[in-house]
């Protein structure tokens, strides 16, 4: 079936964006025939039902920040722009919960929550553009995962529109709820392949009374990671524990920050603490002592607070995602202690010319490394890069870890699977997909195992 831009599935013209806007909705170089921007959940349902009827494939879009993730779409007829789904935005401060429409940006939500001294402790890249629906669909998170967990830990309810236009919900607006299966966890991280998320309910957290950020430079990765993990083990409850290589700083984009001296070699440990002021003072003191014990240099103890610290953490959260975006990025998951070995693997792979000098940042206590390569990848180097990444992935597997391509040029995606999941569950995952999207119209081919 081919869909000319003139074929509009019988949809209300008010929902369609003009054809010249299609360029903004490219996925891996593919353009949709049609861009649809529903203004209500009812309209989302109408669009999906119409697309289902005709077997038209559909890619949901939030802010478009993570569209590089995933395999090349098998087909792409409709771009479903969800950014007009801006309702509800119901914050219940006394319940520490919020209900939010999928099209609302994270920053918009945070502004609403901050007005009441609360926040959603999820800090993925580009919060002014990233929408709640996109964040949940792609399970996007950032440094705060150390203290608060993943998006799947904060979600208490989700409403979706299924492939055929049916609307369902699971969970609710209470923080403790075992009524029925936990469908909201299934939809979290499913990349819109089982249904389109239209509304999410979260538990939120009080903003700490006081915050402080400690920066320490270590001559070795072992020292930086060891200190970070020791801080966690000591019960100092950091909100974030990041290790950055010296080459990571240019991608942290905090140009106004006087800290830290970017030219220094070594490994930086960034610790973020929050709580009642006396507790923060204690956290800072004990963490500093641990840094020194693990061999931090004379710079250990540089402390950032207030706007300076906020800018720093925004920069760290955006690591690798602000323009100009590096063309290639990977995410490695491993056990926290293996962070050093995973880091060494990344540094080894950089002997292949286009892969020299990766910028690496590590959510240390979570065991999640992100590496970006800023140089261009010439067409003729693609096979070699692919081989190098394959070797890297094998070595990561030998550690018991996983490696996902977060962003890669399309020719590279054609040679190496951007996803990395255990083959033994693929059968189960495919039968879930078949149950929820029997015609395979939602984001076809972009998820794991060709789902």
């Amino acid at each position: 079936m081919s869909f000319a831009p003139s074929h509009t599935l019988g949809l209300d013209p008010a929902l369609l964006l003009p054809p010249e806007r299609r360029g903004a909705y490219a996925v891996d170089g593919l353009l949709p025939s049609l861009v649809v921007r529903p203004r209500s959940v009812e309209e989302v349902s109408t669009v999906l039902a119409a697309a289902f009827q005709e077997g038209a494939s559909l890619v949901p879009w939030g802010g478009g920040t993570r569209m590089a993730l995933g395999a090349v779409p098998r087909s792409y007829h409709l771009a479903l722009d969800m950014t007009a789904i801006a309702e509800p935005l119901e914050h219940s401060p006394a319940n520490l919960t919020v209900r939010v429409g999928a099209g609302i940006t994270l920053e918009h939500l945070q502004k609403t929550l901050r007005a009441h001294g609360q926040f959603l402790p999820i800090d993925p890249p580009l919060p002014t553009r990233a929408t709640i629906g996109g964040i949940m669909a792609s399970s996007a998170y950032g440094p705060l995962c150390a203290g608060y967990g993943l998006p799947r830990d904060m979600v208490i309810g989700i409403a979706v529109v299924h492939a055929n236009g049916t609307r369902t919900k699971s969970g609710g607006q209470v923080v403790k709820n075992v009524t029925g299966f936990e469908m909201h966890r299934l939809y979290t991280g499913s990349l819109g392949t089982l249904g389109v998320i239209v509304e999410v309910a979260f538990k939120v957290a009080p903003l700490p009374k006081e915050e402080c950020t400690l920066l320490a430079l270590f001559p070795s990765a072992e020292g930086a990671l060891g200190a970070g993990l020791a801080v966690v083990r000591a019960g100092l409850s950091p909100m974030a524990v990041e290790v950055l290589t010296a080459s990571a700083w240019p991608l942290v984009y905090a140009p106004t920050l006087p800290l830290p001296p970017k030219d220094k070699r070594g490994y930086w440990l960034l610790l973020r603490f929050g709580g009642p002021p006396p507790a923060v003072a204690r956290q800072e003191r004990d963490a500093l002592a641990l840094c020194q014990r693990y061999g931090a240099g004379e710079d250990a103890g540089e402390v950032a607070r207030g706007e300076e610290a906020r800018a720093l953490w925004r920069g760290v959260a955006d690591f690798g995602w602000r323009e100009p975006q590096p063309p290639l990025g990977v995410r490695i998951s491993c056990l926290p202690r293996q962070g050093v070995q995973a880091l060494a693997l990344l540094e080894e792979v950089s002997s292949v010319p286009p892969l020299v000098n990766p910028a690496i940042a590590l959510h240390a206590s979570a065991g999640v490394l992100r590496a970006f390569w800023s140089g261009g990848i010439p067409q003729d180097a693609i096979p070699e890069v692919s081989n190098a990444l394959r070797t890297l992935r094998e070595r990561v597997h030998a550690l018991g870890g996983r490696m996902v391509l977060e962003r890669a040029p399309r020719p590279l995606k054609d040679l190496i699977d951007p996803w990395d999941v255990s083959a033994e569950t693929l059968g189960l995952q495919r039968s879930l997909k078949a149950q929820f999207d029997p015609k395979g119209v939602l984001n076809p081919g972009r998820f794991v195992g060709g789902i």
């Binding site: 936990e182 006396p278 998951s333 926290p336 065991g367």
Partner: protein, 478 residues
């Protein structure tokens, strides 16, 4: 369906002679859990390893029998009660702690390990496993996964799903696979996240990777006595609004206090209309600040007395009234119905008012002892089942309370699960489409009509819920 004797024979060849139970006396023990429903299993099999579990699942499947996985049987909603004469698969013998990895703060355990035993085993490393359902001495981690168990301290730390990273499971077709693993996130659909809380209907869990936390260096417990329950409820809201999340926030109402005092001698004053128990933990400095803040808020909200404790013995004393509450209520009437509903915490005052109205309307006393911090109510309806009219009124009052929870923006179950108890009430909360979406999971897992059939989803029967109970483990504190 294969004859019971042939199936028993086949299973004995897998697990050994003595681990297949078929005598009526033995089967009776597996006919019930902590709820009120009873139904005899066809037979009971206790494999000794994950490998044996695989063979058992395959054999039972081929024989055409349904299968019900079972932990310690402490569940309160009938999740482990075998319907249709199902085979009960007890995981009691899979009770080893396989690996403790203090560096990465993880442990790998088998499903039959008791919840509290995990924390005991990792305590030498200064670590613990956070979810603490009240039956934690007896209940197993496998059962906790089936029910996505909570506990008093999940207010600050979250429930089972927030602390389990991976599950090795046996699927209905007998294949053994890992869902999730030791990594923070494994990629693909969150299969781990849907098996947790699936009440044994999707897969049989044979290994679990749990996340461990550092033991808090300081814990402070405060007990505040109020004349009126509305004051105590306002204190709960004010504590949350002050920007802290205590590790526990528990409440007892007047009727419960009247029952508890003669039984436990907790020292609650006669005029007490409500008792609030608050626990804060973490760094000494934080605990000090937050403890003082809690005390100030309670006094401001009209507490007539605030006691606090920092050492384990004193804390135990403050908790005594809370922990003894259910046992004490059992003395007030021949029977009670223990409910489990949840409302947004801002609606607690209203929920309690409506429970009082329901109590008056049905002319039955209703006591409340509950997890106030997360709005998880446990109304306890007192009655005498020998009086048929009282029994009828008690059931109706129970239904009315559940409806009220949903009307106030809450849900049918905060922590006990749906099982048999609430399956017929599911349409109060979910649309037919919602339920159809959920029903796709057993289809996708190939476990429909095989693993724990007849649970969670409405069967079009008159609600079986709210039959009276007089039995609960003596140390059950809900």
């Amino acid at each position: 369906m294969q004859a019971p004797s042939a199936l028993a024979h086949a299973l004995r060849r897998i697990v050994g002679e003595k681990y297949v139970l078929t005598t009526p006396e033995a089967l009776l023990v597996y006919a019930y859990d902590g709820s009120v429903d009873r139904s005899l299993p066809g037979l009971v099999v206790l494999p000794g390893s994950a490998e044996e579990t695989v063979q058992v699942v395959r054999t039972v499947r081929e024989a055409g029998w349904p299968l019900v996985p079972r932990g310690a049987g402490t569940g309160l909603s009938g999740g482990a009660v075998p319907l249709q004469g199902a085979v009960v698969l007890s995981l009691a013998r899979l009770n080893r702690i396989l690996e403790i990895d203090p560096d990465n703060m993880r442990a790998v355990v088998e499903p039959g390990v008791a919840n509290l035993d995990i924390s005991k085993a990792v305590q030498p490393y200064g670590l613990y496993y956070a979810p603490d359902p009240s039956s934690q001495k007896a209940c197993t981690i496998g059962g906790n996964i089936a029910e996505n168990a909570g506990g008093p301290h999940c207010l600050a730390y979250g429930v089972t799903t927030n602390h389990v990273l991976g599950l090795e499971v046996v699927l209905a077709n007998g294949s053994r696979v890992w869902l999730g693993g030791k990594l923070q996130e494994e990629g693909g659909y969150d299969l781990r996240g849907i098996v947790i809380g699936s009440e044994g209907m999707l897969a049989v869990v044979t290994k679990i990777v749990v996340r461990l936390l550092p033991l808090p260096e300081a814990v402070k417990t405060l007990l505040a006595v109020f004349r009126e329950i509305d004051q105590a409820s306002s204190a709960v809201s004010a504590i949350i609004a002050s920007g802290m999340v205590p590790s526990a926030l528990e409440m007892l109402d007047r009727l419960t206090i009247e029952a508890v005092e003669p039984a436990v001698h907790a020292g609650y004053p006669k005029e007490a209309g409500a008792v609030l128990l608050v626990e804060v933990d973490g760094l000494r400095e934080a605990v000090e600040v937050q403890g003082a803040q809690v005390e100030a808020i309670c006094r401001e909200m009209g507490a007539v007395e605030v006691r606090s404790a920092e050492n384990p013995q004193e804390r135990e004393r403050l908790w005594a009234g809370r922990k003894g509450a259910l046992g004490a209520l059992g003395r007030l009437a021949p029977n009670y119905l223990l409910l489990d509903g949840v409302v947004p915490r801002t609606r607690i005052v209203e929920a309690l008012r409506r429970i009082r109205a329901i109590s008056e309307y049905y002319r039955l006393p209703i006591a409340n002892v509950f997890h106030a911090g997360d709005g998880n109510l446990h109304p306890c309806i007192l009655f005498d089942e020998r009086d048929a009219d009282q029994l009828r009124r008690a059931k109706e009052a129970g239904g009315a309370i559940l409806k009220m929870c949903v009307e106030l923006g809450g849900a049918l179950s905060g922590e006990h699960g749906v099982g048999l108890e609430k399956q017929e009430y599911m349409p109060l909360y979910f649309t037919p489409e919602d339920l159809q979406a959920m029903a796709k999971l057993p289809q996708a897992f190939g476990s429909a009509d095989f693993l724990n059939p007849g649970k969670v989803f409405p069967q079009g029967k008159v609600p079986t819920a709210f039959r009276p109970t007089t039995r609960l483990p003596a140390d059950a504190i809900i």
